[in-house]
C-alpha cells in the first residue's frame, strides 16, 4: 500500500509509540500497564511500518529477528523465575536487590521487573512474527 498520509504519520508516530510503550511497561509495576500492554504498543509502530512500507522495510527497521525477541524474552522470564529457585524458594519467588545510584538514591530492582521485561520482548516478537508472516504471504 502506498499512502503518503500513512507513511508520513508512521514516521512521526514511531518514536511516540515507542516512548509510550516504555512508559506503559514501567508503570505496570504498580499500576495498570505492564509488559503485555507495553509490548503490544511497542509492536504497533513496526506493524504500521509493514503496512506502509512493506514487511521487508519493517524488518530492516526492527533490525533483529522477531523470533530472536521471542527467545530472549522467554529466556529472561525463565531466568527471573530460576533466581528465586536458586535462593531455595519455589520457582518464580520474587527476589529483590538494591542498586545505589550516586546522586539519585537507592533503586529497588526485583525479579518481577525481569519477568515483565521478558513478557515485553516476547509479546513484541510474537506479534511481529505473525504480522510479518501474514504481510509476506500476500
Amino acid at each position: 500500500m502506498t499512502s503518503l498520509i500513512l507513511r508520513t504519520t508512521t514516521r512521526y508516530l514511531t518514536p511516540l509509540l515507542l516512548i509510550f510503550s516504555v512508559f506503559l511497561f514501567l508503570r505496570g509495576h504498580n499500576q495498570p500497564g505492564g509488559g503485555f500492554a507495553g509490548g503490544l504498543v511497542a509492536a504497533a509502530p513496526f506493524a504500521l511500518f509493514s503496512i506502509a512500507f512493506g514487511a521487508a522495510e519493517a524488518r530492516r527497521v526492527l533490525q533483529v529477528e522477531p523470533r530472536w525477541l521471542i527467545g530472549v524474552g522467554l529466556l529472561a522470564a525463565l531466568a527471573s523465575g530460576v533466581i528465586g529457585l536458586l535462593g531455595g524458594y519455589p520457582f518464580l519467588t520474587g527476589t529483590w536487590g538494591y542498586l545505589k545510584l550516586p546522586g539519585f538514591g537507592v533503586l529497588d530492582i526485583g525479579t518481577p521487573l525481569f519477568f515483565d521485561l521478558g513478557v515485553y520482548l516476547a509479546v513484541i516478537g510474537v506479534t511481529l512474527s505473525i504480522i510479518f508472516a501474514l504481510e509476506e504471504a500476500e
Partner: protein, 522 residues
C-alpha cells in the same frame, strides 16, 4: 501406605528436602521450556538444534524418572509457585498418577524425538519443528503437574498452540483441512472449559483443585446440587472433546493422519491422554457429589467410545486412519476405570493409559516406516514387509499384540486389571463390551498384519526402491525402545501393577491430595 509430609505454612529456605521438592516439581516444565527456547534461538544451525532437542528430551526423561522415585518414596509432593500459599497462588502437585504421566511424557518425548531426527524433513526443522515439539511437551507436563484448574486451562492452551502449528507445519492440503477441524473443535472445547471455570469460581470462590475438593467435601452437594451436576457435565464435555470420547471424537480421525508420522505418534501418545488425565483428576477430586449419575454416565460413554472407535477402525483400509480410530477405542478403556470408580479400577486405568500410550506411539512409528518404504499408508498397496523387514514385523507384532491384550504383553495385564475391577463391582455389561472390543482390536491388528506384512508385495507398487539408501536401524531403534518397555511392563506386571494400584488408592482418597497441598488444617 506411604507417608504424607505435612507442609508448614511458611517456607524454610535452608531445608534441603523442601528445596529438592521445589526443583523436582518445576523441572519437567523448565527443561522443555529451556530446550524450546534454545532451539528457537539456534534456528540457524540445524545440527545444533537437533542436538539440543535430543538432550532436552532425554533430560526430561531423567527428571521425570527422578520425580516418580521421589513421589513413590515420600508421598504426594506440592510446591507453591512464587511462594504464595496454597489457595491463593498456583500450586504444582505430583501424586503418583501425575508423576507416572510425566514419566510417560518423558519416554514418548525421548523415543519420538529420536524418530523425528531421521524422519522429519529439513524444511520443517528449519521452520522450528524442534522448538514446537518441546513447547508441546512443556504444555503436557504443566497440565499433568498443576494443582490449579485455571492453570490447567493455560497449559492446555500452550499445548494446543504448539500442536496447532505442528499439525499445520508443512502446509500440505490435507494438513490444512485436518488442522481446521482440529483447531475448531479444540477451541470450542476451550470455550466450554472457560465457561465452566467461570461458573465454578462463582460457586466456590477458588480454582485451586485441593481447595475445591476441600470445600465441596464439606458442604457436600447441599448447595446448588443441580448446578454442580451441570458443571460436572460441562467439564465432561470440555475434557471429553480433548480426550476424543464418544460422541465428540470426530475431529481425531479427520486430522491425526495428516501431519508427519512423528507428530502423529506424539499426539497419539500424549494429547488425548491429557484429556483423560484431566477427566480422571476432576472426577476423582472435585465432582463427587453425585457419583451415581456422573460416573455411571462416564461408564456408558466409555462403552460407547470403545465400540464406536473399534468399529470405525474395522472399516478402515489406511494404516494411520485405522490406528487413529484405535486411539478412540482405547480411550474408552481408560474411562472404564474411572466409571467403575474403585481403587483397583483406577489403578487399572493408570496402568492402561501408560501401556496404551507406549503401544500406540510405537504402532504409529511402525506405520511411518512402512510409509517411508512404500510412499503410502494404504494397506491394499502395502505388502511383503515380513519378508523384507523381519525386524519391523517383530516390533509391530509386540505392540499390536500388546494393544489387543494378548499375554504376556502389557496390554493383557492392563485389561485384566480393568475387567477384574468390573467383575468385582458387578458391572457385567461393560466387561462384556470390553472383551468384545478386545477381540475386534485383535481382528484389526491381524488385518494390518495380513495386509502390510504377510501378503506378497503387490505388483503395481514396485516402489521398494525406497529400501535402498535408508539406514533403517535409525528408524527401528526408537520403536525397539518402546516395544521393550511394553515387554518389560508385561513381564514385570506384578510390581508395575502394584505401583498402579497405589496410584489408584491415592486417587480414591482426595484427603491425601488436600493435605499435601493445603497443609494440615486449611
Amino acid at each position: 501406605m506411604t507417608s504424607i509430609r505435612c507442609r508448614a505454612q511458611t517456607f524454610e529456605a535452608e531445608h534441603p528436602e523442601e528445596f529438592l521438592m521445589n526443583v523436582l516439581l518445576i523441572l519437567p516444565i523448565l527443561i522443555p521450556m529451556l530446550t524450546a527456547v534454545l532451539a528457537l534461538l539456534l534456528q540457524k544451525s540445524r545440527s545444533t538444534q537437533r542436538a539440543v532437542s535430543s538432550i532436552g528430551a532425554w533430560t526430561l526423561f531423567a527428571a521425570a524418572a527422578w520425580l516418580v522415585v521421589d513421589v513413590w518414596r515420600n508421598g504426594i509432593q506440592a510446591a507453591q509457585m512464587g511462594n504464595w500459599p496454597a489457595p491463593y497462588g498456583i500450586t504444582l502437585v505430583a501424586d503418583l498418577f501425575s508423576a507416572v504421566m510425566v514419566l510417560l511424557a518423558g519416554i514418548i518425548a525421548a523415543a519420538v524425538g529420536m524418530y523425528s531426527l531421521v524422519s522429519v524433513d529439513a524444511q520443517r526443522e528449519e521452520f522450528g519443528y524442534h522448538s514446537l515439539y518441546h513447547f508441546l511437551l512443556m504444555g503436557v507436563c504443566g497440565a499433568f503437574l498443576t494443582g490449579d484448574l485455571f492453570n490447567l486451562y493455560v497449559w492446555f492452551e500452550v499445548m494446543l498452540m504448539a500442536s496447532f502449528v505442528l499439525m499445520a507445519l508443512g502446509g500440505e492440503r490435507g494438513q490444512m483441512e485436518g488442522a481446521i477441524k482440529y483447531v475448531t473443535l479444540n477451541l470450542i472445547s476451550s470455550a466450554l472449559f472457560l465457561s465452566a471455570l467461570g461458573l465454578l469460581y462463582a460457586i466456590a470462590g477458588t480454582l485451586n483443585m485441593a481447595d475445591l475438593a476441600y470445600k465441596f467435601s464439606d458442604v457436600s452437594a447441599s448447595q446448588h446440587p443441580g448446578l454442580m451436576t451441570t458443571l460436572a457435565i460441562l467439564f465432561m464435555l470440555a475434557f471429553g472433546i480433548k480426550a476424543a470420547v464418544f460422541p465428540l471424537f470426530f475431529w481425531l480421525p479427520a486430522s491425526y493422519h495428516t501431519p508427519p508420522v512423528a507428530v502423529s505418534a506424539l499426539f497419539a501418545g500424549l494429547l488425548t491422554k491429557v484429556g483423560v488425565y484431566a477427566l480422571i483428576r476432576v472426577f476423582t477430586l472435585i465432582f463427587l457429589q453425585d457419583v451415581g449419575y456422573t460416573h455411571s454416565l462416564i461408564l456408558v460413554i466409555a462403552g460407547l467410545t470403545m465400540v464406536s472407535g473399534v468399529l470405525g477402525a474395522v472399516a478402515q483400509y489406511d494404516f494411520r486412519r485405522l490406528l487413529s480410530f484405535h486411539i478412540i477405542s482405547q480411550i474408552g478403556y481408560a474411562l472404564m476405570g474411572l466409571g467403575i470408580f474403585t481403587a483397583s479400577a483406577l489403578g487399572g486405568a493408570v496402568f492402561f493409559i501408560f501401556h496404551v500410550s507406549i503401544a500406540k506411539a510405537s504402532l504409529f512409528l511402525v506405520s511411518g516406516v512402512a510409509q517411508r518404504l512404500y510412499r503410502t499408508c494404504d494397506l491394499k498397496r502395502l505388502g511383503g514387509l515380513y519378508q523384507t523387514q523381519p525386524m519391523l514385523a517383530a516390533l509391530f507384532l509386540v505392540s499390536a499384540m500388546s494393544l489387543a491384550g494378548i499375554p504376556p504383553f502389557s496390554g493383557f495385564f492392563a485389561k485384566l486389571g480393568l475387567v477384574k475391577a468390573g467383575l468385582d463391582t458387578g458391572q457385567h455389561v461393560i466387561v462384556a463390551v470390553a472383551l468384545g472390543v478386545s477381540l475386534l482390536t485383535l481382528f484389526s491388528m491381524l488385518k494390518i498384519w495380513g495386509e502390510a506384512f504377510w501378503k506378497p508385495i503387490p505388483d503395481q507398487s514396485g516402489t521398494t526402491g525406497g529400501l535402498s539408501g535408508v539406514r533403517l536401524s535409525n528408524w527401528l531403534f526408537p520403536i525397539a525402545i518402546l516395544s521393550a518397555i511394553s515387554v518389560v511392563l508385561g513381564l514385570g506386571a506384578g510390581p508395575a501393577f502394584n505401583f498402579a494400584l497405589q496410584a489408584g488408592e491415592q486417587l480414591m482418597d482426595p484427603s491425601l491430595y488436600i493435605q499435601a497441598v493445603l497443609g494440615g488444617a486449611p
